[in-house]
Structures are given as structure tokens and as C-alpha cells.
Amino acid sequence: MKKVLILIVLVLAAVLLWAGLTKKTARPQTGAVIVTTEEDLNKELDSTVDDGGAADFGELQNSAEGL
């Protein structure tokens, strides 16, 4: 019985410790929502970046090898 009580207390302590740490390390919510949106849009725009086809031009060059 005593062992069970000790175990419950330990588990409770661990849960409280975990909850406290999570709250402490959580990022503060400020009014920077628009910044995230802009970042998202910029990230989306980054997906349209390419080198202009360097690999394709290399492939074309290779296809003429042997002439």
C-alpha cells in the first residue's frame, strides 16, 4: 500500500514537472501572426526557384556525344 502511494506521488510529481517545463519553454504568443503569413508565402515562392535547367542542358549535351 505504501509503495503504491509513493508511486502515485512520483508519477504526479513527474507530470507536474513535465507540465511546468512545457509551459516555460513554450513560445510566447505575440501579435506576429502576419509575419508567419508572409514567411509562408515566401516559402511557397521559394518552391518556384530553379537553376534554369542546367541539368537538362547537360543531358542535351550528353545526347550529342559521339558525333
Binding site: 501579435g31 515566401n42 511557397e44 545526347s63 559521339g66
Partner: protein, 155 residues
């Protein structure tokens, strides 16, 4: 007479696809006697078409993405006029590039490498110019449009 006309028509039916095939950019390949070189020229010819399609398809995909972004920017009160014009301009240029056919003009067999090289250079130059001249500026315009979204200050 009717029999002759029928034979002519049937002959035309069989000849038409062959004639159409010979009218493709690779038609000049027949002037190359060396079998090995002819195959290479045919391969390059196919590659020219494939790479032009691949590149213009990629550019179209990117322009579609830019348009999607502009819709979001507009919804958030951003200025998209310049970017929309740049994307539309790029779309026209990409469509024109996609429709281009690169014909290899083979003068003599000893100039084969030069002739093929010239055609390859024409394609790569066109694609590079299109990328640098239209796609990159369109992306820059979209980036500027994103910056125009006014930050909403929350109390």
C-alpha cells in the same frame, strides 16, 4: 479509271503518315549516311523536343504557383497589379517557347557536329533568356507583392 482512282486514294492513305513523319524536324537526318551518327542526330532531335517541353512545363508550373500566391496576397490587401502583369507576360512568352520547333539544318556530313551544336545552342539560349528575362522578373514581382502586404498590428 475508277479503279485507278481507288488505288491512288488507298496509296495516299498509306503514304500520308509517312510523308507527315518526314516533314518533322528530323527529316534532314536522312542526309546522314553513317548509321551511328544518324542515330545520334535522331536522339538529339528527340531530346530537343523533350527538353523544351520539360522546361516550359516547369516554367508553367512555377507561374501557376505564383498566380496562387498572388491570389492570397490580394486577399490580404497586397498590391498585385505589377506582379500579375509580369506573370501574364511570362505566360505568353512560355507559350511561344513551347510552340517553337527546332529544326536541325544539316549542310554536309563533316559539319554535322557544328550544325547539331548550333541547334542545341539555339534551344539552350532561348530557354536561358526566357528564364532570366521573364520567369526571374515575374518571381521578383511576386516577392515585391508579398512585401506589400501590410502587417496587421494586434492589440
Amino acid at each position: 479509271m475508277k479503279v485507278l482512282a481507288a488505288i491512288f486514294l488507298v496509296g495516299l492513305m498509306f503514304a500520308a503518315p509517312v510523308m507527315a513523319k518526314n516533314a518533322t524536324p528530323g527529316a534532314k537526318v536522312q542526309t546522314v549516311r553513317d548509321e551511328r551518327k544518324r542515330k545520334i542526330v535522331e536522339r538529339v532531335d528527340a531530346k530537343l523536343v523533350e527538353i523544351n517541353k520539360r522546361r516550359t512545363d516547369a516554367m508553367t508550373r512555377h507561374l501557376d504557383k505564383m498566380s496562387e500566391i498572388l491570389v492570397k496576397v490580394k486577399a490580404r490587401g497586397g498590391d498585385t497589379v505589377v506582379a500579375e502583369a509580369a506573370v501574364a507576360d511570362a505566360r505568353i512568352a512560355v507559350a511561344a517557347q513551347a510552340a517553337k520547333i527546332y529544326t536541325m539544318t544539316i549542310s554536309t556530313e563533316d559539319k554535322l557536329k557544328i550544325n547539331v551544336g548550333e541547334t542545341m545552342k539555339a534551344l539552350t539560349t532561348d530557354l536561358r533568356n526566357l528564364h532570366e528575362g521573364k520567369i526571374v522578373p515575374a518571381r521578383k514581382a511576386v516577392s515585391d507583392a508579398i512585401k506589400s502586404v501590410k502587417p496587421v498590428s494586434t492589440p
